[in-house]
Each structure stands twice: as structure tokens, then as C-alpha cells.
Amino acid sequence: MKRLQLILLSLALLLGICLPLCVKVAASDAGTHRFVIDNAKLLTQNQAEQLERSAEEISRCQHCDVVILTADGIDGRNPTSYADDYFDRNDYGQGSDRSGILLLLELSEGVRSISTCGFCIDVFPDSEIEALWSRCSAEIQNGRYAEGLQIYLQSVDRMLSNYDASGNRKPNPVRSSVFALGIGLLLGFAPVSALKSQLKSVRSNYSATDYVRAESMHLDVKRDSFLYSNTSYRVLESQRSAPSSGSSTHVSSSGVTHGGGSAKF
């Protein structure tokens, strides 16, 4: 009995120590920070809370922070670096490479900026960022900010679903099967055509190589003369020190590499 009590007590102590730690870790992962910061007061309380819940869920499920920031004036600073710095200074980003994506809507100048970090740089190359924005730009430009931002969050979530926790592309079995079937059907013809050609052996001889008199070939004239030369060039697309697939990157003031960019809307 005493032994049993001792065991139970130590278990309880253990749990008592571990649980708070887990909670603390979980809490710190999800961050004490908010995901929707509406400084420009574009959203009602309800809309803000709804978007906050969506963003928090997406961030938790996709292992990267999805942040929305609205502002009415940023002291004349560059929107891209403002977004990058805001992301870094407020400790956003999950994992060792601090993965996350931040959308800044700056209304006084009518500029939007998207800043990516960690594996989100590769998940959202420049082309994808353009696509993301084009999906929600109509709503936002017409003042329906809540709807626009909801569409934005849904698009981000859809894109991130193709990738796993460490940012690697998830294999898509359906797509693989379709491609594999196509390749298999085409390649299947090769070996069976080889088998079919085994049955055909009657063919004319193209040349008379067997009948060349030994050592009879002689080259009297063997001359290679230079005629002319021309040089042409083409301009390559400017590629900065970028990783794969066209993400233009820039370094924030804290020295962290971010992807994405700004555009007027």
C-alpha cells in the first residue's frame, strides 16, 4: 500500500511538472501574439475575431505563421522592409527557419506587401504571390476587406496543404498515377516492338561494306577551311541570389532573408 502510494505520488509530481511545460511550449509555439493586427481599423470586432481564429488554425495545422497586418501610414518607410521587420521583431515564424507569411495592407499609399520567411519563401514564389493577391484584390479594392482577407487565408491554406511540416512537397498519388500510366503506356511499346522485329529477318542491304577492298580507301584531299563566324547574344532574366523557382529575396534589418514583395493596389 505504501509502495503504491509512493508510485502514485511520484507520478502525480511528474505530471505536475511536465504538463505546465507542455502547455508553455504549445503556447509559445502558437505565440502570444495575434495573427490579425488591424491597425487601420478596416474590420469590425467580429470580423477580426473570425479572421484571427482562421489564421490561428491555419498556422497551427500548417506549421507556419500566417499573419495579416493592416496599417494606415507607416511613417514613409518602405513597405517591403516594414513587413520584413515587423515579422522579425514580433517573433513570428515557426520552426528553426522561422517559417511564415505576412500580408501588410498599407492604405495611405495603397500598397500591399507580402513577406515570406523560411520554407514559405519556396512555397510562395513571386508567381504564386501574384496569384494569391489577384484572387483577393477585387474584394479588397472594393472595400470588402473581411471577405477579401478570408479568400486570402483560404488560398494560403490550400497552397500550404501541398506541403508537409518541413516544407517539402507532399507526394500527390493521383497525379503520380496519371503520369505513371501515361509513361507506362508509351514505354510499353518499346520492348514489344523489339520482340516483333525478331520475326522479320528479310531485308535488303543498304551498303556494300562487306565488299570494300582492304586498304583501298585513300583520301587525296582532306581540307577543312574556315569560312566565317558570327556571334549573337541574348539577355538573361535577372536572377538574384535566389533559391529555386523564382522567389526574389531581400534581407531585413535583422539580417533575416525574406521573400515576397510589394505592389500598389
Binding site: 505513371a180 507506362g184 520475326l199 577492298r213 583520301l219 584531299v221 566565317y228
Partner: protein
């Protein structure tokens, strides 16, 4: 009528035949063997009879319309049975007693072949080669090897024209070399053009062209090459026991095919002397072929015919080297079955690769 000859064994009177295993004339009745050169005297006697056979040839050229006149009727010396042979048959068997006969008139005078390669392989070798040809072919209908009947198998000396040629050739090509490099944000491509000239000569010996219109030229080319090292001066004795045809496509018509092959070989040989260019395009070609005298030779070929489901399939075997050719049918069901198997394997492998490495 032209004379037919049967080579009789001096020991027992039976008809002697050329035996490919010993390369001598052999009597199948008493097993005595003779050297073919021993029978040369008979051939010399025939050559003196030139005037007769020459006279026989003329009607064939003048009276083309009446083909029956070109069909000769002969009498077998052993059984007196009538042998009807057309203009080109040189050696055959009596249809009644089976004795081999040689129609020497077809090979005398101007029609005498220069060379003959005697048979090295016999009928059993030909049958075995057919079996080997049919084995291991996955798409061959299963019943082909079982149900096909060997309708006919005959050893035939096929008339060939052999052409020598000395070729003078001159080629010019346009060659290019490319160099690509990057500086800053530009990629430069420098293309340098060259004129490549090659002239010279090459010689060819004994390019064969089938001189019989009855035999498929492609099939005769497929069983090449024949080794002329084993060729001997022609004697009618070698024909005994086999079939033989005289040519019916003359040298003038055959030379075009030989020259076509010679031209292709020359182009290949000279093009292969060009090295080190990214692209080579021929600009000007000049090939001048000077033909030597044509030789007339008899080469040994085993011909086999089988029938399967109402269709005839022809095979030929080089009677010297044993090379066997002949087209066979494809079983459609087996074709699609194997396609399905290979397609399934390829699909599985691609799926694994795509799943784990790309997508």
C-alpha cells in the same frame, strides 16, 4: 535438243551427287567418293560442243512470243521419263525416278559461270536451322512450329553477278562549331562555319547481285555474305544432286543495284572521316564509279517453304555459312498480352520513381 548429263559412278553405275560434308562427289549406292576435278574431262568435252548450244540459244532470243519453244523437253537417261524444264533450269531431278540431272547446255559457252561455291551444309542442317529459327520467338503463334508443314526443301545454286568497282569520290560538307559563354547578364553564342572537303577513292570487289528474277532479291541480300575464299572454278559436276538456275536478269540490269550499294558505302566511308564538328551537312557529292568486268557465279542456297493457315512462308539459308532468314507471322493476342505486361511494369516503375523523387 541440248544434251543432259547424268554423272554415273564407274563402280556401280548409280548416279553420283555432290556431298557437302566431304566436299567431293559421292555415290549414294556404293559410297565411293571422287574428286570433282576427276570429272573435268567430261566438262572439257562439253565445251567443244559450243556450236550446238549456241544455236539452241538463238531461237530463245528471236521468238519471245512463243514461250513453249523456250521450254525444253528432255528424256531421263535412267528411266526415259520426260523432263520438262524451262529456259532457266540448269539442274533438276527427274520427276519419275528422282535421279539428279544436269542440263549442261545451260552452262556452256558464254553462259558458263566463272565460279561456284559448293554446298557446305546439307538438308538435315537446313531443317535443324529452321527449327532454331522458330525457337525463342515470343510473338510467334504457338501452333506455327507445331502445325506448319515443310512443303518443300530444295538446295539451289542461285546465279549471282559479282561486280568489281573502283570509285573516285569527292564530297564537300558545311560544318559548324558552337561556343557558348556568359558575361554579366548576357549569354553569347559564337557559330563558326567551315567548308570541309574530302576527295579520294575506294575499291570494291565482288559486290553480289541476284541474277534470278524468280528469287526475292531482298532475301538473297539478307543471307549475305558469301565467302569467296571457298569458291572454285565452275564445273557442272558440283550441280549434281541440287537444283540450279541460269540467270535471267543480265549483268546490265543488275549493275544498277550494285552501284547503288557502292554509292551508299562510299558516302558512309567518306562522311566518317569528318570529326569534331557540332553539325555536318553535305553540300556537294560527286561519285564516279568505274566498273570492272562482271563475274558470273553460282552460290549455294537452301530454300524452304512452309504453309500455315493457308499461307506460304518462305525461308532461305546460306548453304555455306548457315545464315537463316525468313519472315514469320505475329500472333496478335500474344502481342497485346506482352504489351500489357511490359506496360504494367513500366507504369509501376514510373509510379515509384515519380512518387518518391519528383512529385
Amino acid at each position: 535438243m541440248a544434251q543432259i548429263i547424268e554423272y554415273k559412278c564407274p563402280c556401280c553405275g548409280g548416279i553420283i551427287e555432290f556431298d557437302s560434308d566431304t566436299q567431293k562427289m559421292k555415290c549414294p549406292y556404293c559410297d565411293t567418293t571422287f574428286d570433282p576435278s576427276a570429272l573435268m574431262e567430261l566438262d572439257e568435252a562439253l565445251n567443244q560442243q559450243q556450236p550446238d548450244s549456241a544455236q539452241w540459244e538463238i531461237p530463245q532470243e528471236q521468238f519471245d512470243a512463243s514461250e513453249t519453244e523456250s521450254m525444253g523437253v528432255y528424256h531421263c537417261q535412267s528411266c526415259s521419263g520426260e523432263i520438262i524444264a524451262d529456259a532457266n533450269t540448269g539442274a533438276t531431278h527427274c520427276p519419275f525416278c528422282g535421279n539428279p540431272v544436269v542440263l549442261t547446255g545451260r552452262f556452256s559457252g558464254a553462259l558458263k559461270p566463272d565460279l561456284v561455291i559448293p554446298f557446305q551444309l546439307n538438308k538435315e542442317d537446313a531443317k535443324a536451322a529452321l527449327k532454331r529459327h522458330m525457337s525463342g520467338k515470343k510473338l510467334l503463334p504457338r501452333l506455327f512450329s507445331k502445325e506448319s508443314h515443310l512443303d518443300e526443301i530444295k538446295g539451289l545454286y542461285v546465279p549471282f553477278w559479282l561486280f568489281d568497282a573502283d570509285v573516285d569520290a569527292s564530297f564537300s560538307f558545311r560544318g559548324t562549331k558552337k561556343r557558348i559563354w556568359r558575361t554579366g547578364d548576357r549569354e553569347y553564342t559564337e557559330t563558326t562555319h567551315f567548308l570541309l572537303q574530302r576527295s579520294g577513292g575506294i575499291g570494291f570487289d565482288n559486290v553480289p547481285v541476284d541474277g534470278s528474277s524468280r528469287l526475292d532479291d531482298a532475301m538473297m541480300e539478307a543471307i549475305e555474305p558469301f565467302d569467296l575464299g571457298a569458291a572454285v572454278p565452275f564445273q557442272t559436276a558440283y550441280l549434281s544432286g541440287f537444283y540450279a538456275d541460269r540467270y535471267d536478269v543480265d549483268a546490265k540490269k543488275s549493275i544498277d543495284r550494285a552501284n547503288e550499294r557502292i554509292q551508299n558505302s562510299t558516302t558512309q566511308a567518306f562522311t566518317s572521316t569528318v570529326h569534331g564538328y557540332d553539325s555536318v551537312v553535305p553540300e556537294h557529292t560527286s561519285v564516279h564509279i568505274r566498273n570492272g568486268k562482271a563475274k558470273y557465279a553460282m552460290f549455294p542456297v537452301w530454300l524452304l517453304t512452309t504453309s500455315y493457315q493457308g499461307k506460304l512462308y518462305h525461308f532461305a539459308m546460306n548453304g555455306q555459312s548457315g545464315k537463316f532468314v525468313g519472315d514469320m507471322p505475329v500472333d496478335k493476342r500474344l502481342y497485346w498480352k506482352w504489351y500489357g505486361i511490359y506496360a504494367a511494369i513500366c507504369t509501376a516503375v514510373s509510379w515509384l520513381l515519380l512518387y518518391f523523387f519528383f512529385l
